[in-house]
Amino acid sequence: MSVLSVRDLTVTYHTQAGPVPAVRGVDLHVEKGEVLGLAGESGCGKSTIVNGVLRLVPPKTKVTGTVELNGEDVMAMKPGRLRAVRWSGMSVVFQGAMHALNPVQRIGDQIAEAVVIHGEADEKGATVRAGALLEQVGLPPRRLRDYPHELSGGQKQRVMIAMALACQPDLVIADEPTTALDVMVQAQVLQLLKELQRELGLAMLFITHDLSVLVEVCDRLAIMYAGKIVEEGPSVPVFRDPKHPYTRALSGAFPQIGDRRFRMAPSGLPGDPPFPGNVPTGCSFHPRCPLAFDECPTIDPDLYDAGPGRTAACLLVPRGERVPVAP
């Protein structure tokens, strides 16, 4: 049984300009001990999926489909059960640790708060646990008494990770956890996340626009475009040998140093990602696709079988045509 199982999820925001379908039918499964990477550009709906899964969407938003955590239907949970599941069943490492921490509370108290609220320990026990958690994320326990402003960006992100692990969740969702960090610190934080995930056997959903980061830490990748998943499969093959033209363009945006094909040859796509309220007909990628042909504007492709453990939503895939790999 998957730790997280999302089937045919749609999330439609209610706005003054009319309904905006941000997520348009997404299936995701994360197994125990597995890291699934979700990649896509701004506005593709990747953060909306997180909000949909955690039921954190604004009122009047229409959510359909099923979300199951360890087989339990999240959509049907009563508020009390939902509150219990959030953080102890699934927790989130948010982007921008600098804004997610309370500036006027010591970090030890912030970590302990979740432990106490979920009834896992009394205040004293929670402080001990907070110290142990800090050590686990590579900070000395004496930093418990620090305020957030006394920590660097990387250290704050480590505190966020400690908080996410406080109630021993089965699933950790990491939403752009390293975007605001410097390159060197980013590598350290990624390494820490990966080590903890392995050590604790966590299921993890890792979300970022940076495909190169995902390839490094994830077992499987799902690529999103305009509210849908367009390609899914084991991470290295998806990155190295993409089946969908969009994945190919995205992986071309993260050149391998030393690879002659990228030298003095930046590659990108014409145009811009579509606005969620105004998605093109047929395959939503066709206006930007270098390989589009006459059927693309009318047929919205399903995810077709594209090799062992892989799927891709491109009409070229069932025709057996290979997407050229070179940028």
């Binding site: 550009e41 250290q155 626009h209 495909l211 290295v236 993260f254």
Partner: protein, 363 residues
């Protein structure tokens, strides 16, 4: 004084040369300490930089946040005042003459990281681009083109075609990529020799980045504009740069042809920076520990020695240069053709008696 210029005679004069540049920011202390008269040390953001930019070349300036790369770019633009050192443009020092500076500010243009912040939200695209012309009192080009023609040509060169369609748009009506094109058009309209671009694509979506980089590379190829591109992304440097300079704590520690620096780095810091570039297939490799260093307390000796893997592993001690690493500040040395690095160990291994002295700091 070590020279950073290539030794080949066929190389043209640099269009821009920076000599022994030092930029400091006043240190800050808390209220209590301030009242007690405690003085904080200055942040030595740029601490002795020599740099040359040749006509039509793309030079990438890389390093961690806080290494001084943005301060260096801003100082070159005249947005920060250097403590000491010279900047010369086309062989002539800039000095303080208003007329010279005015001309310089027309011919050296900057492209900022975030186009949304760089454009005035209440100005139309036409106004945003024409503003540069008006500031410099240009009503017609030397070829007799009107302001409107100049704006149209700049927009179309930046890939906004047909340009007239965008004249009356406001920034919020454009996508991120289009906004960055408008910012680039604003630089192009003044017909610059140099563009200084500070992280020109890091705020853009991945699929849009390539097109903007293509545009910048095209400007270099078609108009022979020299570019200084500040970036933390070495993959980007690999895609567009002719030369790469790596900065650490206010100083350039390695500079050379992009292929040589990126595929065969000399300095241990450059090696560490390349180590953190994400790789397909796992993250289990050693990274440099610790936080970005503090420019208010630059360590004595080689400024990288407290974090240097060659010092930690004993390689420096084994070669007998450990004392130099810890006590002797140093400058760049040409260890391969056109490829310079500031490292006691690597100078020693290349057969030099010692590394050269650092660039002089004037009070």
């Amino acid at each position: 004084m070590p020279t950073v210029s290539p030794s080949r005679p066929d190389v043209p004069e640099p269009v821009l040369a920076v000599r022994d540049l030092h930029v400091r920011f006043a240190g800050r202390v808390g209220l209590w300490q301030g009242l007690r008269g405690v003085k904080a040390p200055d942040a030595r953001a740029v601490d002795g930089v020599n740099l040359e930019l040749y006509p039509g070349e793309v030079l990438a300036l890389a390093g961690e946040s806080g290494c001084g790369k943005t301060t260096l770019a801003r100082t070159i633009m005249g947005l920060e005042r250097p403590r000491s050192g010279d900047i010369s443009f086309e062989g002539k020092p800039l000095g303080r003459s208003t007329r010279v500076l005015r001309e310089y500010r027309r011919r050296v243009q900057m492209v900022f990281q975030d186009p949304t912040a760089a454009l005035n939200p209440r100005q139309t695209i036409y106004e945003s681009i024409a503003e540069g012309l008006r500031v410099h009192g240009i009503t017609r080009s030397s070829a007799g083109e009107s302001e409107e023609q100049l704006v149209a040509r700049a927009l179309s060169r930046a890939g906004m075609r047909p340009p007239e369609r965008f004249f009356l748009n406001y920034p919020h009506e454009l996508s991120g990529g289009q906004r960055q094109r408008v910012v680039i058009a604003g630089a192009l309209v003044l017909d610059p020799e140099i563009i200084v671009a500070d992280e020109p694509v890091s705020s853009l979506d991945a699929s849009v980045r390539g097109e903007i980089l293509k545009l910048l590379l095209g400007l270099r190829n078609d108009l022979n504009i020299a570019m200084l591109v500040v970036t933390h992304d070495l993959g980007l440097a690999w895609t567009i740069a002719d030369r790469v300079a790596v900065m650490y704590l206010g100083r350039i520690v390695e500079i050379g042809p992009a292929e040589s620096v990126l595929t065969n780095p000399i300095h241990p810091y450059t090696k560490a920076l390349l180590e953190v570039v994400p790789e397909a297939g796992g993250i289990d490799r050693p990274f440099l520990a610790g936080e970005p260093p503090d420019p208010t307390s630059i360590p004595p000796g080689c400024r990288f020695n407290p974090r240097c893997p060659a010092v930690a592993s004993g390689a420096a001690a084994g070669a007998g240069v450990l004392a130099a690493c810890q006590e002797q500040d140093l400058g760049l040395q040409e260890l391969r053709p056109d490829h310079f690095a500031a490292c006691h160990l690597m100078s020693h291994e290349a057969g030099f008696a010692s590394a050269p002295p650092p660039p002089p700091a004037k009070a």
